[in-house]
Amino acid sequence: IHHIVQNGGLYKKPFNEAFEETPMLVAVLTYVGYGVLTLFGYLRDFLRQWKIEKCQNATEREEQKDFVPLYQDFENFYNRNLYMRIRDSWNRPICSVPGAKVDMMERVSHDYNWTFTYTGRVIKDVINMGSYNYLGFAQNTGACQEAAAKVLSQYGVGVCSTRQEMGNLDKHEELEKLVARFLGVESAMAYGMGFATNSMNIPALVGKGCLILSDELNHASLVLGARLSGATIRVFKHNNMQSLEKLLKDAIVHGQPRTRRPWKKILILVEGIYSMEGSIVRLPEVIALKKKYKSYLYLDEAHSIGALGPSGRGVVEYFGLNPEDVDVMMGTFTKSFGAAGGYIGGKKELIDYLRIHSHSAVYATSLSPPVVQQIITSMKCIMGEDGTTLGKARVQQLAENTRYFRRRLKEMGFIIYGNEDSPVVPLMLYMPAKIGAFGREMLKRNIGVVVVGFPATPIIESRARFCLSAAHTKEILDTALKEINEVGDLLQLKYSRHRLVPLLDRPFDETTYEETED
């Protein structure tokens, strides 16, 4: 477990992050399991190639058999032989609003997950532990829905144009002013899709001759945007400030690779909450480094906006920092606001530049009016401007749910990654058979969870990811915890070897805080 020492200057409250190490026996058994599955995969590929078994996956046509093979790499092998066997845990169709409870359509497969048929039955009131519904705004009743319905009857759904042509509605202007006020920045711009916000705006900000320092575990949209821009990309270890500082020093000292000229711009790409690890970025240290080495910071708050901070304004407020220190604040409306789309906030010159030069502004259709109204209503609710304290209550409920859920899971003995305050809770499964078994057993007990395996995580570190919501009441969480406990005993998932001392019993010094193994 990490020895966490607080520096009284940078951090105003304890930063509790832990990534427990994989137990050796579990790692060995996971490799054994993958070995068995690989052998059987080779056997099945052999049978498919010699036509002893019917081939149901995509293959090249007969005429193309002599060309460069398309499906021989490891990703396709994994897809055919491992992913297909447990595919029924993903892409489950839901047929109601994804609130705290959701209705799912039941489906069965008669040929081992190659095809699915619907039985016609709907599984009602499945506890939803997988939706990014952090503040519970995914509702089909309430103030947001009424406002959105009114706007729908006034503006319709389609915008039929891009921002720069005829798609700039007064609703968009209102939204952008509100977002700027919410974040505490000078100006903001909203886009139709969160992924496109990252991938289309980073190329507008940096180009060849610039340096991008991106975290190891950044999201695919950031990686894609960085690669599209043509800048040099260097990767630092996840949330590791020593690695980042070393890269910054090397960049300033040595300059560009061959010519040794100074870099035109150095941009640090980090995320607020990393959704696969549940870890929070060490923002005070990143900002200190950024100021020391005179580089720019791009903060992707997709999961942390609305979910962290005493009034829901994201990771900057959580650490008590100044929003003007972050050069580009990006976020999405998909997670906490129950809508769709993304935004970028920053100085007025930056946003004006992006309005002209961003690919998304020029080519992508702008946000649809009912969606914009949903964002406006939910943001006003969080800020408290609709006259109620609902927003504050939701933010506090989420924080309580997070602390309670994480504490209970750790006490039960599961390995949980990430920071104590992050509403994304990854529970380690490790073995491939347990991925499928966990998803199925939880659905049998009426709880829907998201399990994650190889391409999204390292191959032995597969996990189940719970996303907490302000819409979950304590009873729902208790039911879920009881079932998770049962399934954990059934599948032997309680790998943790640390017996954490309960924090309240132990007196600790105000400036240093240690967690030790017992």
């Binding site: 068995v36 059934l490 032997q492």
Partner: protein, 76 residues
């Protein structure tokens, strides 16, 4: 009641074996093949242990007792 608990426990152990070796996700004919291979290998290991270990243990014991038991005699 006790028999049921024992049966449940044995079934739970079998389930753990299926999960750890990933035969839980295999199709039934692959599972039968895997179980046959496992049982065969296990049987061979046990048979080899039964045939060889007692003889080797006895020989090792004789070797060491000769080495240590022989010393006092030669010292005197």
């Amino acid at each position: 009641m006790d028999i049921k608990r024992v049966k449940d426990y044995v079934y739970w152990l079998y389930f753990q074996y299926l999960l750890i070796t990933c035969s839980y996700v295999l199709e039934p004919w692959e599972q039968s093949m895997f179980h046959t291979i496992t049982v065969t290998v296990l049987a061979m290991v046990l048979y080899t242990a039964y045939v060889f270990i007692p003889i080797h243990v006895r020989l090792a014991f004789e070797f060491f007792s000769q080495m240590f038991g022989g010393q006092p005699e030669s010292a005197v």
